[in-house]
Amino acid sequence: MPAFKIPFNGYSVKFSPFNENRLAVATAQNFGILGNGRVHVLSIPPSPGAPIVETAAYDTADAVYDIAWSESHDSLLVAAIADGSVKVYDTNLPPASNPLRSLQEHTREVHAVDYNPSRRDSFLTASWDDSIKLWTVDRPISVRTFKEHAYCVYAAAWNPRHADVFASASGDCTVRVWDVREPGSTMIIPAHDFEVLYTDWNKYDDCILATASVDKSIRVWDVRSFRVPVTVLNGHNYAVRKVKFSPHRGSLMISCSYDMTVCLWDYMVEDALVGRYDHHTEFAVGVDMSVLVEGLLASTGWDELVYVWQHGTDPRAP
């Protein structure tokens, strides 16, 4: 289907876990370095070939770096804002009532937000103030702050099986695994020699996680033996911005990179690179796989376009 043009640079894209036609996009002006941001809620047409339409948009005073759908309410969105705030939007409410909440605790840019798929009222935010915060929807202040990283935390990801376990990726070159019941991190994985930009858990194996790094590689780790990576996936030519496991196939991963490409990987096979999509003309920084429609992919980048396509088809096909 045709790409959707957004006014700012795309930063993140997420399929709704409730509605297969819903898509949320986080965008930022001026590449997120300075300027406003906007959250777009898009509707994917049921018939391929029809254009994507926007159903809602929320302006913010600063860049929106990430967005997450609530796992408990189909209309709730949590946005990570560069001014350090976390904003909650309800697409069912009129624009004047949004944002529903603005949670101001982080002292620096909030770079990522991840909604807990198991305990569905809580979410994590990762910030450049080196900390991760745990929030619940109905609480005005954070439940906990996890502050061990020595540099910006770029991402945090809940374990899909264990509701209290999450991993965080930081510019201090480590990935830490946490249990919210524990006072500190339970595991420190010196995952890369360069900054780690993203981490995600395998949806079918609760001990496997993948990391994306500035060193251009993706590494897959088994937390039971994290001294060496399970595998190292090379193929991107620049820093890898995000890597996500497929919700449908255990070994399938999707990644996007500053080399402007989106890649699909199967880390279990010899030739791990399954597919490469070259449709973006600027940095590809946001990518997602639909939970509800197998093989449906979405990506966004600094070329101000949002692509939604079925795996195996050309994203640019009209």
Binding site: I33, T60, A61, Q104, T107, T145, D164, V165, T186
Partner: protein
């Protein structure tokens, strides 16, 4: 690790209390307009539960206090990295034990410390801010090129922006975010490369890269005084000193809210009369800072060359098609310039011409000239000090690599050698000498093109309905450079308009640009060969250029075409002229009609040509009795007196001319000559500078200033020496840059030059004349910091 400090930067990097403030100027405006008070105390609407999930109540109830949350009291502690695995696995697989559920219930049911209604604190921007204003577009372009530069490790070539009204917070955002993101883009580059990329961006946005991230140092005033004392003497060849004072100075500079305390503390140290000496010292620093500031610019130029190189090598069509890249490469080729808050396509001529000489000319000069307070200079200085140090060796090399033309090379070497050495002022003057000599050589080479009128680029008067009238009006008002533009527009429209050419020539002559004056007058003569005023003016201009034959021909022509005196001349124009013959003819004419001032004027000119100054003075004085309000005549008299030994008289003659016409550039320059002829080089400098600020193209004034400067610096003691030469080099730098880059009126660099003049006038109390509009001198500021701001931000 500097980057680390910069990014985490402690409290100064954090932006407390700005939750609802916009991060950009427009957003801030919108906030100001609609009020950021959207923290309306409404009750939180309950979230509609569209899809009930999970057995637990999603909304809290009263219960256990918050601090009993699991682990929250231990926030911050962590396990040692070793022995994690087993620990992790143990807890990992106990995820659904009862105690966990309890703990979570605690979380769910903990009480709220604040009332719920306080939570609706979102900043609602309504209507959304317009994002297409020029500043945003400018910024966007710059950031584009920054991001762009990451492709293939292309060095970022900063383009200087006008002041965008970025707040401190905006600047922090740009600094921090571009640093962090830069580390992603430039992953396989060294830390130094990343730093230089980011610094290039920050530099062009006038953001200091690390100074402000540090907290204030204690006891800074005392230390500052030490640094000042050091700087007053010789600059010790220790980089740390300069670094330190820049830091220190900056500490003060970024504290504009408190000028009084600064002044007070200064008074404590120097007594209430210490201001002048302080100012002097600060001048030293300013000049020193300029050298520091120059280095990053040079580095940026080198980067732009590398960029072009990288571009040429990158064959990936995708990268080639990137709009970022295209933007950057256009900028580097000078096809885009930044002017007046807009990115514009460069007009063909000057950009390309300029481009040939200066690879990345518009931007580095722009940067140089942009509004720059001492703090910013200091910032740059500190930000780039590593470069400064390493550049000491490499700089000259870089220059030659850049195929800069020679003066810049010379200039660069001088600076590089003299960055922390002594006697820098002399080096500078010498470097400038070299430059001027080469300019002269070039001029002589291009003598074949003599008499060809060179039009200004980017003439705003093209298309003006009546440029002649406008030009006359501007000329009358004394706005000579403007008048030239208007008149050029006129003669472009009507190339056969003799009057337009004539007035243009006169204006150039008054603006002390005889080359252009002669070219214009020759055009006027072409259009109307018998125009007496044109012939007289041509005669005078050629006299000024010491071209006796040509001068005589025109003066004879004047007589030849004059209705009254044509009987004195033969019907055929002679092939060659002898001075005595022509003078004789004019003497006859003067006897015929002694009341004709023009004849006496021509006689005066003629006697100047033969260096019979006493006679010339007598002729001019006679003419002045007839035409006492002819300012150009007063000027001629003054010039003649100056050329003889009566320089003191010349001063008062110039004074009369300037009384009649305050913007008379030539008279200002001549005033300087008058002083210089009396050996008063020091006093002559402000007049040259003032003339040059009004017309930087006045080559003669440049020459004279150079001479004065050289004598001044070689004859005076070291203290004065450095003071004046620093001052003048300030001017020397800014004005030639203006010459090359700026459309003449209203550029910031002029203000820097004015600063120099103003300082000199403070010192010598010479320039008590009411200033012409272009060089209006502002009242003395309360403190140095304020003064700079006044100059820089006006």
């Amino acid at each position: 690790m500097a980057m680390r400090e910069l990014v985490t930067g402690g409290a100064t990097c954090a932006v407390p209390g700005s939750s609802s403030s916009s991060s950009n100027p427009l957003g801030a405006l919108a906030n100001a307009l609609i009020g950021s008070s959207s923290k309306t105390q409404e009750r939180l609407k309950e979230i509609p539960v569209a899809t009930p999930t999970g057995p637990e109540n999603q909304f809290f109830q009263d219960g256990v206090p918050l601090r009993t949350l699991p682990g929250s009291e231990q926030d911050g502690a962590f396990l040692p990295p070793n022995a994690q695995g087993s620990e992790f696995l143990r807890t990992f697989h106990s995820a659904y034990q009862n105690d966990l559920a309890d703990a979570w219930d605690d979380v769910q049911h903990g009480p709220l410390p604040h009332v719920v209604s306080d939570m609706r604190a979102g900043t609602v921007l309504r209507p959304p801010p317009t994002l297409d204003g020029p500043p945003q577009r400018m910024l966007s372009g710059l950031l584009h090129s920054f991001v762009d530069s990451s492709r293939g490790g292309i060095p970022f070539r900063p383009a200087q922006l006008p002041l965008l009204g970025l707040s401190e917070r905006d600047k922090q955002c740009i600094r921090d975010r571009s640093t962090i993101m830069g580390r992603h883009f430039f992953a396989d580059k060294s830390e130094d490369f990343i730093n230089s990329q980011v610094n290039a961006l920050l530099h062009s946005l006038d953001i200091d890269s690390d100074v402000r991230a540090k907290g204030p140092l204690p006891g800074r005033y005392r230390e500052l005084e030490e640094y000042w004392n050091e700087s007053q003497g010789m600059m010790r060849p220790v980089p740390h000193v300069a670094d330190g004072w820049a830091n220190e100075f900056n500490q003060l500079g970024v504290n504009p809210g408190n000028p009084e305390s600064w002044a007070r503390s200064f008074e404590q140290q120097h007594g209430s009369n210490g201001w002048a000496s302080e100012f002097e010292q600060s001048q030293l620093m300013a000049a020193d800072r300029m050298r520091g500031a120059n280095l990053p610019n040079m580095a940026a130029m080198e980067q732009s060359r590398m960029l072009a190189h990288t571009l040429a090598q990158n064959n990936d069509p995708k990268f080639q098609n990137s709009k970022f890249l295209q933007f950057v490469s256009k900028m580097s080729r000078g096809e885009l310039i930044i002017d007046d808050n807009q990115v514009k396509p460069a007009p063909g001529d000057w950009a390309s011409e300029f481009q040939q000489q200066y690879n990345s000319g518009p931007s580095w000069t722009d940067e140089y000239l942009r509004n720059r307070g001492p703090d910013q200079w200091a910032d740059e200085f500190t930000a780039k000090r590593e470069q400064v140090q390493s550049a000491d060796d490499q700089w000259a090399n870089e220059f030659s690599k850049l195929h800069m033309n020679d003066w810049a090379d010379e200039f660069g070497q001088q600076v590089a050698e003299g960055v922390f050495g002594e006697g820098t002022a002399n080096d500078w003057a010498n470097a400038y000498d070299e430059f001027m000599n080469e300019q002269i050589a070039m001029k002589q080479q291009s003598d074949s093109s003599r008499g060809v009128y060179v039009f200004s680029d980017m003439n705003p008067y093209v298309g003006h309905p009546n440029p002649l009238k406008e030009g006359q009006e501007l000329f009358r008002k004394g706005l000579l450079s403007e008048a030239i533009l208007a008149l050029e527009a006129e003669v472009m429209k009507n190339p056969n308009n003799s009057e337009g050419w004539r007035l243009l020539g006169i204006t150039h002559a008054e603006n002390d640009d005889d080359q252009q004056a002669i070219a214009a007058m020759m055009k006027a003569e072409e259009a109307d060969p018998s125009n007496l005023e044109v012939l007289l003016a041509l005669g005078v201009s050629h006299t000024n250029e010491l071209e006796q034959a040509a001068a005589l021909r025109y003066l004879y022509g004047w007589l030849h075409h004059h209705p009254k005196y044509k009987t004195l001349t033969t019907p055929e124009m002679p092939l060659s002229f002898y001075h005595a013959d022509v003078a004789g003819l004019f003497n006859e004419a003067a006897q015929m009609s002694p009341e004709d001032a023009d004849v006496h004027i021509v006689l005066g000119v003629l006697y100047n040509l033969s260096r019979e100054y006493d006679r010339a003075i007598a002729s001019f004085q006679t003419a002045l009795n007839l035409k006492p309000n002819d300012y150009s005549l007063w000027n001629k008299l003054g010039a003649t007196q100056a050329n003889s030994v009566q320089s003191a008289d010349a001063i008062s003659a110039y004074q009369r001319a300037l009384d009649l016409k305050p913007n008379y550039v030539r008279a200002w320059a001549n005033m300087g000559i008058g002083y210089a002829n009396q050996g008063m080089y020091e006093e002559s400098i402000p007049y040259y500078v003032r003339a040059l600020t009004m017309n930087p193209k006045a080559d003669n004034a440049w020459q004279y200033l150079r001479i004065s400067l050289r004598y001044e610096t070689s004859t005076k003691g070291s203290e004065k020496h450095s003071f004046y030469s620093m001052t003048c080099t300030t001017t020397l730098i800014t004005i030639p840059l203006a010459n090359f880059v700026a459309p003449p009126p209203g550029m910031t660099c002029w203000k820097l030059a004015i600063l120099g003049i103003w300082m000199l006038s403070k010192r010598s109390s010479l320039c008590n004349r009411q200033a012409p509009p272009v060089t209006r001198v502002p009242p003395p500021p309360h403190s140095l910091g304020q003064w700079w701001r006044f100059v820089v931000h006006r």
